[in-house]
């Protein structure tokens, strides 16, 4: 049983190097971003998440939607145990894989082969497990002999193939994604989509932050609409997207 729940989560992002004091009043009413607050003295912070409570269970495919700065990425980082909330807490059962930057930790001077191993370790897999998975990953990339070449010789598309193949090789219980993979050429996209579908089918919970409504409809069954760091609505994807689009159009 996979479960992920947030209880009254608040997150403040401190701002240390901006004197936003004089801008305070103008910034308070904006369409985008969280509420700017002022603490004692001259220091400021953004309340990026404000009393967020959400609960996800096995089988949930959730799209996080909202304006830029609504708190989607912050919420993902809280769920990914990167940001620890100021107040409130997160409960989780099941393994976790935050995939926020597919090319994270690639070493451009190392070979494709080495980078597959390295990236796997960044995702928390043991060397033995990566050795076992290696052939399958290598095959999926279709990079062949290029895997013995340093990464700096790769084209952007080849890099994406490699990143995609490693990141999706092992399915976690809870998958967190910030935007979709942008993958290579048309033929590879088809293959990639099949792979994602099978990954999604095996993962217990999928949380995807996206601005792409069509994608959200295709992949997700639920949506959480964030606005100014608060959950404005959470429910079936079609209802939420309908309300969101209506609000955006107005």
């Amino acid at each position: 049983m996979t479960r992920l729940s947030l209880h009254d989560v608040c997150v403040n992002i401190p701002i240390y190097n901006a004197d936003t004091r004089s801008l305070k009043n103008t910034l308070f009413k904006r369409a985008v971003g969280g509420a700017l607050r002022q603490a004692r003295g001259n220091r400021h912070f953004v309340r990026a998440l404000d009393n967020v409570s959400l609960s996800f269970h096995t089988g949930d495919r959730v799209a996080l939607i909202g304006h830029n700065g609504a708190g989607k990425s912050t919420l993902l980082r809280v769920m990914g145990e990167i940001y620890e909330p100021v107040t409130g807490h997160v409960e989780r059962t099941g393994s976790l894989a935050p995939i926020f930057d597919v090319a994270l930790g690639f070493d451009m001077e190392s070979t494709g082969r080495d980078n597959i191993m390295l990236r796997g370790m960044y995702l928390g897999h043991s060397a033995a497990r990566m050795h076992a998975q290696f052939e399958e990953i290598a095959e999926f990339t279709e990079l062949g002999e290029y895997l013995a070449m340093p990464l700096r010789t790769y084209s952007a598309g080849m890099l994406m193939r490699l990143a995609f193949a490693v990141s999706t090789a092992i399915t976690p219980d809870i998958l967190l994604m910030d935007e979709w993979f942008g993958v290579g050429d048309a033929e590879f996209i088809q293959k990639a989509e099949k792979r994602i579908d099978s990954m999604l089918a095996h993962a217990g919970i999928v949380i995807l932050a996206t601005h792409d409504a069509a994608l959200a409809r295709r992949v997700c069954s639920k949506a959480a609409w964030l606005e100014g760091g608060r959950v404005r609505a959470f429910g079936p994807i079609d209802d939420i997207l309908f309300a969101y689009e209506a609000a955006s159009a107005a």
Binding site: P14, A39, L104, D107, S110, L118, G124
Partner: protein
């Protein structure tokens, strides 16, 4: 709007007053972070090597450039200062060689410890790796460099026909203690620097001063009547527990006592500080 912010009392790092962080759990989380960071040896082991390989990629002798440049400096400085101090080069060159090699490790441990988290900002913000991993990576990288530079001492030992002494066995033990201290210093300075970006600059200046205050170029015997200059210098004791055994003598018990005291008090202080700051580091970098 500000009424909802009533819990904010302590400035921006608002540990909200409504629900103070449960302390024991922060302790446990800090310890768990350090344990799993240390446990990810396959990752920081590889990353440490990659850091070095990256600097010397496509050069024919790779990281041995470190050894060569250090070696050239030691021999030229050794010849110069042996003349200036009117000391026998047979005694002086091994002394300055060990001093420079160790100081290279200690100084980088401090300055790179300061940037342990700042330099890993992308990894910290995009993945849920234990934070202490970045510290282990840095210490390991510098240990690899130390190992490369140790070749210089080996060559000098052969050239000057130094008689191997059983005290040499103490040197790796001493080096291990320096490495452990580098880990706590990295945790402490890394967290402090992530929040206060002036700390790396301050630390670099302080290390510059200590380079001259510590008997690295000059021998400790030069200050017989002003030993407080040595006794209160932590870096002196770190150097002593490795250098003296390699020169065939037993280090003073006081040096060992000082190192042990620093290891335990520094370790405890840095774990406490890490327990307080760990949850904020991702916000700071």
């Amino acid at each position: 709007m500000l009424s909802t912010a009533s819990g904010i009392r302590n400035g921006v790092d608002t540990e909200d007053a409504r629900a103070p962080a449960p302390r024991p759990s922060q302790w446990m989380r800090a310890l768990a972070d350090i344990a799993s960071g240390a446990g990810a040896i396959h990752l920081w082991g590889k990353l440490g090597w990659l850091d070095i390989a990256q600097r010397y990629r496509r050069s024919a002798i790779g990281p041995f450039w470190l050894t060569i440049s250090m070696g050239v400096m030691i021999v030229s400085m050794g010849a110069l200062f042996a003349g200036l101090f009117k000391t026998d080069i047979h005694d002086y060159l091994p002394f300055i060689a060990i001093s420079f090699i160790l100081w290279g490790f200690i100084a980088s441990a401090v300055t790179e410890g300061c940037t342990a988290f700042i330099a890993a900002d992308a990894l910290i913000k995009q993945s849920n790796l234990p934070l202490s991993l970045h510290v282990f990576r840095g210490v390991w990288r510098n240990l690899i460099i130390l190992a490369h530079n140790s070749v210089i001492f080996a060559l000098l030992a052969v050239y000057f026909r130094m008689t191997p002494s059983w005290t040499w066995l103490l040197a790796p033990v001493g080096a291990a203690f320096i490495a452990v201290n580098a880990v706590w210093a990295g945790l402490l300075l890394g967290a402090l620097s992530a929040r206060f970006r002036d700390v790396p600059q301050i630390a670099a200046s302080i290390m510059q001063v200590f380079f001259f205050l510590t008997p690295i170029i000059w021998q400790p015997a030069l200050v017989p009547d002003r030993t407080y200059i040595l006794d209160y210098n932590p870096f002196y004791h770190f150097l002593e527990i490795v250098r003296t055994p390699l020169l065939g003598q037993m280090p003073a018990l006081a040096s060992w006592a000082a190192v042990l005291a620093m290891t335990f008090s520094g370790g405890a202080a840095s774990i406490a500080f890490f327990a307080l700051t760990r949850r904020r580091i991702a916000y700071w970098v």
